[in-house]
Symmetry: C2
Subunit: 402 residues, 2 copies
């Protein structure tokens, strides 16, 4: 497997682009993107677990019922959630995209992100979408167009081999607030030229989202608009993946690589974040327990604030584990902090140990910090990603709407 | 029922006081308090649901097994959680208090609050506790001694009548960080001169804690040290409450009044908070659903940040309800904000309605704000309390330990 450039256009036959429709007067950048496949794709998606779901999710569910799609149209600046004319406007968005691309309306995936509760000015999109130019270098441009409070574009792509054929998977995503496990990304769009059935694609995505995006938490708020979509157009020419065979495993491995890279980028770019905080839990009695523990640690406001302050306050790590509802024995737990600046063990068998405070401060001052937890009672492990809680998180969210 | 002064010494036969033992060099104020009853009390307590429990909780559980107690000793500055010699030091704390007070060691409740993972310097307490002076005006002094990041003392007391006899319940509490449902206070100490059996007292407390402290959330972190204790010494001379009769109901009503007042004070004094945020959910299909919804709303970082910014971002209210796991229909939900400055309806039947942004800003700029949610499908209701998320929360928790 090889890391490559190209993002959502890395796979053969995919193009992308964007326009500024003017959904928000205050936004000078492009606000609407299209990702397009030259031929029909098998498609799969996962959606937010929030009971309140935005209209575009329902439209996308309808359109993906047959397991095929050609294009994704997505806008930023308005979530089209709890909004007047929500379903109608989401359909109008699919319709204009279909017309512009010359495809069936129900082959279009629709996604939105932005403020909740305001009518989507779909007229803007209808007016300006025909101006769109799609090309094989459009990944970055499309990525920029779906950013909200994101400070960076987020992209990943890999090349791998299936039955002697070179395949690619690539993706772009956005999301930095309202990020929490249970479909933990705002929007993630993946494309691949691998030939794979809808069933296998859906299974691979479902399984992998659980281990990647769903282990990211920024603020504990699960959005109304979260969606992860993958389109597979088969242009790599590999033999169709129909079973859970070696080729399927190779595909899953590549998918995991792309999704893990995207998930880490979302966590690192959490609203107001100054650092990526990773928690690894090992020697747990089950993967599920390890996952709950790791997620509780990176999700704790107190841990997050301590990470911002580069404070080796490991008591908060144990405290968060304690309310995670996962089984473990406090008296078996060891904790260490690690980063490019070194490693410092702070707790052994559930109790304090002496450590070098100056070194701890250095370790925690890096832009990527790992909290290593050993629960000492099994063999399973899990990793979760989050970020620190900063003044800027409060600033960004204290007045986002206006 | 009448609101009275006196806090934890309002009930007949209770005295309190505090000393500075020097647990933390940096703390100039008193750090250790005693609450004492002139005669034996029935006693009940609730404890944190965190799997990691501090040593004093285990010692208190042992001591309350027989349902009676005489005194509470509590310190701030060190939680004695995940700390070397934890159990031994908690026992030594009970022992010295028992000696000073001339009571049995197992009639002493022990509580601690402060930093996790450091050895409690119990020698300091052993050295200085004999200097303590207890009196009937000591409630405020004891309250100050158990404060950590609290900015205010928190107290409440009421007078009520049982079978013609005047009874009193009063309490003090502390807690402003690591506050979350599941025994949502750090420490709450209640006293009453009402005569009530251990069984009835335990039942009343258990039931009421669920509706008061457990509906407070400051930061979603459930502490390792939470404890709520009530001592009942019977000095009011009422006929012993042994059944769930009218007298029991009168007692519960008074207990609820005191605990509700204390719970609100905890929420209002949440770390860094500038305002008390109350969420009322009405017309729910069950009290449990209403409670989950209300707690999710006041617990959402995004809602909390919007309250700080006085931003009428009601979409975040619906979003939080959506991930609460409680059943409700988004399309039936109405939301309004209310405070001393007025009331503004912002969402009806799950969709945006026009509202006066200037008025909304005024309403949300008050120091007490209520988010009123009507889920429009039943008759049950619940209230939860929280506070806003501010720069100061980050500041306080970014470097609390050092």
């Amino acid at each position: 497997m090889k890391i490559i450039d190209g993002g959502v256009c890395a796979a053969k036959g995919f193009t992308a682009g964007s326009i500024r429709s003017g959904i928000k007067d205050s936004r000078a950048d492009d606000d609407t993107a299209i990702i397009f496949s030259a031929c029909e794709c098998t498609a799969a998606a996962t959606y937010t677990m929030n009971r309140v779901k935005a209209a575009p999710l329902y439209v996308t569910m309808e359109h993906l019922e047959n397991g095929v799609a050609r294009a994704i149209v997505a806008n930023a600046g308005n979530a089209n959630a709890c909004a007047p004319d929500g379903m109608e406007n989401a359909r109008r968005m699919a319709k204009v995209a279909a017309k512009v691309l010359g495809v069936d309306e129900d082959d279009v995936v629709v996604a939105s992100t932005g403020v909740i509760g305001q009518r989507l000015p779909v007229e803007c999109i209808e007016q300006h979408l025909p101006e769109i130019v799609l090309d094989g270098n459009g990944s970055e441009k499309a990525n920029r167009a779906i950013m909200t409070t994101d400070t960076k574009t987020k992209t990943a792509a890999v090349e791998f081999t299936i039955g002697g054929r070179i395949c690619r998977i690539g993706g772009i995503c956005k999301g930095s607030g309202m990020i929490h496990p249970n479909m933990g990304t705002m929007l993630s769009f993946l494309t691949t030229d691998c030939a794979i059935t809808h069933e296998m694609l859906a299974e691979a995505l479902q399984e992998n989202v659980r281990k990647t995006y769903n282990r990211v938490t920024v603020d504990g708020d699960t959005s109304t608009n979260d969606m992860c979509v993958v389109l597979a157009n088969g242009q790599a020419g590999n033999e169709l993946i129909e079973w859970q065979d070696e080729e399927y495993q190779a595909f899953c491995k590549a998918l995991n690589e792309v999704n893990t890279r995207l998930a880490r980028q979302i966590a690192a770019d959490g609203e107001g974040a100054t650092k990526l905080v990773t928690c690894t839990v090992k020697n747990s009695r089950s993967e599920e327990a390890a996952e709950r523990l790791a997620k509780a640690v990176v999700g704790s406001n107190l841990v997050k604030a301590a990470m911002f302050g580069a404070d080796a306050n490991w008591g908060r790590v144990l405290c968060a584990m304690g309310y995670s509802k996962a089984p473990f024995r406090p008296e078996y737990v060891s904790v260490a902090f690690e980063s490019a600046a070194g490693r410092v063990a702070v707790c052994e068998k559930g109790a304090a140990i002496d450590f070098d405070e100056a070194l701890a401060k250095q370790v925690l001052s890096e832009s990527e910090v790992t909290i290593q937890v050993d629960v000492g009672e099994g063999t399973d492990c899990a990793t979760a990603w989050g970020c620190d809680l900063t003044y800027d998180y409060v600033k960004i969210n204290g007045d986002y709407r206006t």
